[in-house]
């Protein structure tokens, strides 16, 4: 039985090594980190990894390395029993996906690639609005690690998917890493397999899997995802600098970082028996994971991040939308220059409150945009004929609705520097509330030190151990949120709450935070025009968990009613900050 586990995540910027140990229960011992060295001038992932592990050795006093070899298994307080790794270094796994119809096979291929932990560099479809020559030019420009080609239902016409193969052959893209032919996973109409192999066989390494969409109403993502995982290890990782050594050193297969986080999120949803939303906001990208009605989805917003791509958030969200989260006056030019300077010097940290709140305003917009992106991909199948009930007759839908319903999310867990390392935990809670606008009742938490990838890969070996550490050391409980849907006149009583003691009434337009550390049962009665998930005016009884922030009652409306008048908006924000006991610039502390 393992007694000590070393888990390492090689991120695009830093490599994080974590030691877990069993001393009458599994727990986190410590964490070491060092800059990742997968790119020039080092070109060897192992250098950064050794640095991170050596820091961990210094912090724990436990020897884990002898020269460049890992001490496995543990003996006399030295070494470890398991050595696990995840990686997103060097830009992670970059994929091109292709399908015949944008909202059908191409979208299914997109979901399969994202679910397997990839960054999708482009999604080509015959109805994507581009001309053939533009698509060919685009494919030539990008340098994917793997290509996923889908299209057509089994037994249907093969013409369209074959034309995609011809396009790919004409484009002849080059691999990002190494000189081997690029792997093409073919997951389309089975009748076109031979033709696709004939067209692409000389130029690519063609792997055939089951059709991703064998019938219009069936999506079969698992075989394509499996093929992506296999190729990630066997093809992509072997080409990346230093990974050959890492693959030999680890006791179990390396996993892509988002794939590992996804495993952990799925485990969590299973344990809770509810809907879970998780977000990891990094320097370059923001990943969103969800399990809704037992369906797992993951998206990556490749250019929404807090350092490397912070200016892309500024461009996509626009300055007025960032500014709406600031409770003080600031010149838009000042914001722009500040964000540009953060982009070019990404390791700096805010020293003033004003600077911190500008970053947190950007984070709200990055999170909002990432969730919108996630909603657009985490949806039911488009174009599927469904049997309708009488009730459905009045709802004219043909599929394609998002699965993400923010009034039905049971838990939101935030991860990434801006959330995990917010100076005040209430700031993390408020960023997630403002950005995601969860409604009804929702439990909020953050990942303490970005441990989800490590626990994800561990869950593939020892799921019980991963879960034990997750609840003990990874999750930082912030508390529960009560937020009614709808809008009434400001100042009217929005909800009244009774628990062990009567918490009283909260008026529309207000946020109140009540101290609550443990779990408690509450009876919540909304205004007749407001809804807590059970219908307008319907009272709900909920068991709600507490946390470091407490019980948050947000009656600012869903959707959030942000005052349009400038002075009123700032006053509204100041009241919100004060409700969370958050300092404002200029306050005497």
């Amino acid at each position: 039985m393992a007694k000590a586990i070393l888990a390492v995540d090689c991120g695009s910027t830093t490599t994080k090594a974590i030691l877990f140990s069993d001393e009458g229960g599994w727990h986190l011992v410590s964490r070491g980190e060092a800059p990742t060295t997968v790119e020039a001038p080092f070109d060897n992932v192992m250098l950064g990894l050794y640095n991170a592990v050596r820091e961990l050795e210094e912090l724990t006093g436990r020897e884990m390395l002898k020269g460049d070899s890992f001490l496995i298994p543990s003996m006399n307080g030295k070494g470890v029993d398991l050595f696990l790794a995840t990686s997103s270094a060097g830009g992670g796994l970059q994929m091109l996906v292709m399908g015949v119809v944008k909202t059908m096979t191409a979208e299914s291929a997109h979901r399969a690639a994202l679910g397997a932990g990839a960054i999708v560099v482009d999604c080509i479809a015959l109805d994507d609005g581009r001309e053939d020559f533009q698509r060919i030019q685009r494919i030539r420009e990008i340098r994917p690690d793997i290509i996923l080609l889908a299209g057509g239902t089994d037994g249907g016409t093969i013409t369209h998917v074959v034309s995609l193969a011809e396009m790919l052959s004409a484009a002849e893209p080059r691999a990002r890493l190494g000189n081997l032919p690029i792997p093409v996973i073919y997951a389309g109409n089975r009748d076109a397999r031979e033709e696709v192999k004939r067209i692409l066989g000389d130029k690519f390494s063609v792997i055939i899997t089951e059709n991703i969409r064998p019938r219009l109403e069936v999506e079969n993502l698992a075989p394509a995802r499996e093929a992506i995982h296999e190729l990630f290890l066997q093809h992509v990782m072997r080409q990346a600098p230093g990974y050959n050594f890492l693959m030999e050193a680890t006791t179990h297969p390396i996993m892509s970082t988002p794939n590992a986080v996804g495993l952990m999120v799925q485990l969590l949803a299973k344990e809770l028996g509810g809907n879970v939303l998780a977000v990891d906001i990094g320097g370059a990208t923001t990943d969103v994971f969800s399990v809704f009605s037992q369906t797992y989805n993951r998206t990556v917003s490749a250019n929404l991040g807090m350092s490397y791509s912070i200016c892309n958030v500024m461009v996509e969200a626009t300055i007025p939308l960032i500014q709406r989260w600031l409770p003080f006056d600031v010149d838009p030019k000042e914001i722009k220059n500040a964000l540009r300077n953060k982009m070019i010097r990404p390791t700096t940290i805010p020293q003033t409150l004003k600077d911190l709140y500008i970053e947190q305003a950007v984070a709200r917009e990055a999170l909002r945009l990432a969730l919108e992106h996630h909603k657009s991909l985490a949806r039911s199948l488009v174009g599927v004929q469904r049997e309708r009930t009488v009730g459905d007759l009045f709802v004219q839908t043909t599929g394609g609705e998002t699965l993400i319903d923010m009034s039905k999310v049971d838990m939101i867990i935030g991860s990434g520097g801006v959330l995990s390392h917010a100076p005040n935990r209430a700031q993390a809670a408020l960023m997630m509330i403002d950005a995601f606008q969860p409604a009804g009742t929702t439990y909020l938490a953050v990942d303490s030190i970005f441990m989800m990838p490590h626990l994800g890969v561990l869950s593939s070996v020892l799921p019980d151990v991963a879960e034990e550490i997750f609840w003990r050391d990874c999750v930082v409980p912030l508390g529960s949120l009560i937020a009614p849907i709808g809008s009434i006149k400001e100042g009217e009583v929005a909800v009244s709450i009774e628990g062990k003691e009567n918490l009283g009434e909260v008026r529309f337009g207000e946020v109140r935070v009540f101290p609550l550390k443990e779990e408690g049962e509450f009876i919540i009665k909304p205004h007749r025009a407001l809804d807590l998930g059970e219908g307008k005016g319907k009272e709900v009884v909920r068991k709600l968990r507490g946390g470091l922030v407490g019980l948050i009652v947000d009656c600012r409306g869903r959707p959030l009613q942000i005052p349009s008048q400038e002075e009123k908006r700032k006053e509204w924000l100041r009241r919100t900050y004060q409700a969370f006991s958050l300092p404002l610039p200029g306050d005497t502390r």
Partner: protein
């Protein structure tokens, strides 16, 4: 903490640099070891496969893919001229004729009996790789490129746009903070240096044919107007712009550092090779200015892990002291609580203006003297 501060960018009067010049695909090396090359010398070349065009022949003729063969006038491997008829069909007893013409000059690569599409590829295009820097070829990378050694001044900027260019270095201001106010016609082909630059002068530089502009700081909106769009992600170097722009310090009204300015003054009139390409992440790539010269001096070694010590000269790279220079006077070992409420390791810095301030170590950049 492994590294809680930003190592400064290299600014040195003398360094031995080895520039690897590599083709993106295999090709032919055109120079030999020991050869002295100029920036414009072509050191290697390759032939890129031409772009392919897909002609929907079956659709044009109104025939199924499997029936296309009998209408073809060309076969796979045949060369075709632009506008040449490659397939045709006749209907209504010869009254109606349809033609498929090649949109380009090239070679037929594929004729699909399934889709009825014909793929025609343009002729390969030569790709010529210039030396970019003046120097000596010291290594040949067979079929790939060369390594060129050059000796001279080397400066890194913080951010840039535009790719590799070269030209005579001209300092057009008299002090590091002075904005560029005038650009004369004779600066065509030059790399000009000034404190800051506004939108009008940047446009003027492009009109005159200036090859590169190096400044201390620039306002975000000036860059946006010049490019015609906002840069989202910090990967640059491929912009389609008439000159290369390098920012030495950051965004805002920031003068060029005295040390960099002194170097530019010293080598005023020398040939400079510049590249604005910037990539900010692990394996960070910063814009560069290389000024080859023959003055021998001890070579500067680029240190990857600088150390922050008492007495180290630093620049603050974030508000509220952004851009100010000073000297570290104390390094308290315990983390301190900042105004934000965050705990961070800090340094006490005596600024050049006499003020003694506390700054997170992460917000300091070491200035290597």
């Amino acid at each position: 903490m492994s590294q809680a501060y930003t190592p400064g960018l290299t600014i040195t009067p003398y360094a031995k640099l080895k520039k690897i010049r590599k083709l993106p695909i295999k090709g032919e090396v055109l120079v030999g070891i020991g050869e002295w090359v100029k920036p414009e010398s072509i050191v290697a070349r390759a032939f890129l496969p031409g772009p392919a065009h897909i002609v929907k022949a079956g659709e044009i003729l109104g025939v199924a893919g499997e029936d296309l063969e009998k209408h073809l006038l060309k076969k796979v491997g045949d060369k075709v001229e632009e506008n040449e008829v490659i397939a045709s069909s006749t209907s209504f007893f010869g009254l109606s004729k349809k033609f498929v013409r090649s949109p380009i000059m090239g070679t037929i690569e594929n004729i699909s009996p399934i889709t009825g599409n014909i793929t025609i590829r343009e002729e390969p295009k030569p790709l010529l790789l210039p030396a970019y820097v003046e120097g000596e070829v010291v290594e040949i990378l067979p079929n790939e490129g060369v390594v060129i050694e050059t000796k001279g001044a080397f400066l890194q900027g913080i951010f840039g746009v535009g790719g590799e260019r070269w030209g005579q270095l001209k300092v057009v201001v008299s002090s590091p903070a002075e904005p560029i106010r005038e650009i004369k016609e004779e600066l065509k082909g030059c790399v000009i240096v000034g404190g800051t630059i506004d939108g009008e002068m940047l446009r003027r530089a492009a009109e005159v044919g200036v090859k590169g502009v190096v400044v201390g700081g620039i306002f975000d909106e000036v860059l946006r107007d010049f490019l015609g769009y906002d840069i989202g992600v910090a990967i640059t170097g491929q912009e389609d712009i008439p000159l290369t722009l390098i920012i030495m310090e950051g965004f805002g009204e920031l003068p060029i550092s005295q040390r960099a300015f002194n170097l530019f003054k010293r080598f005023d009139g020398f040939l400079a090779s510049i590249n604005g390409a910037t990539q900010i992440r692990a394996g960070v790539m910063r814009p560069e200015i290389i000024i080859p010269h023959k003055e021998e001096m001890p070579a500067f070694e680029v240190k990857l892990m600088n150390q922050l010590l008492e007495g180290t000269r630093v620049r603050v790279i974030r508000e509220p002291y952004f851009g100010l220079l000073g000297k570290v006077v104390a390094l308290p070992p315990e983390p301190r609580i900042l105004e934000t409420g965050a705990k961070a390791r800090v340094a006490e810095v005596l600024l050049d203006n006499g003020e003694r301030v506390i700054v997170p170590r992460a917000n300091l950049e070491i200035i290597v003297d």
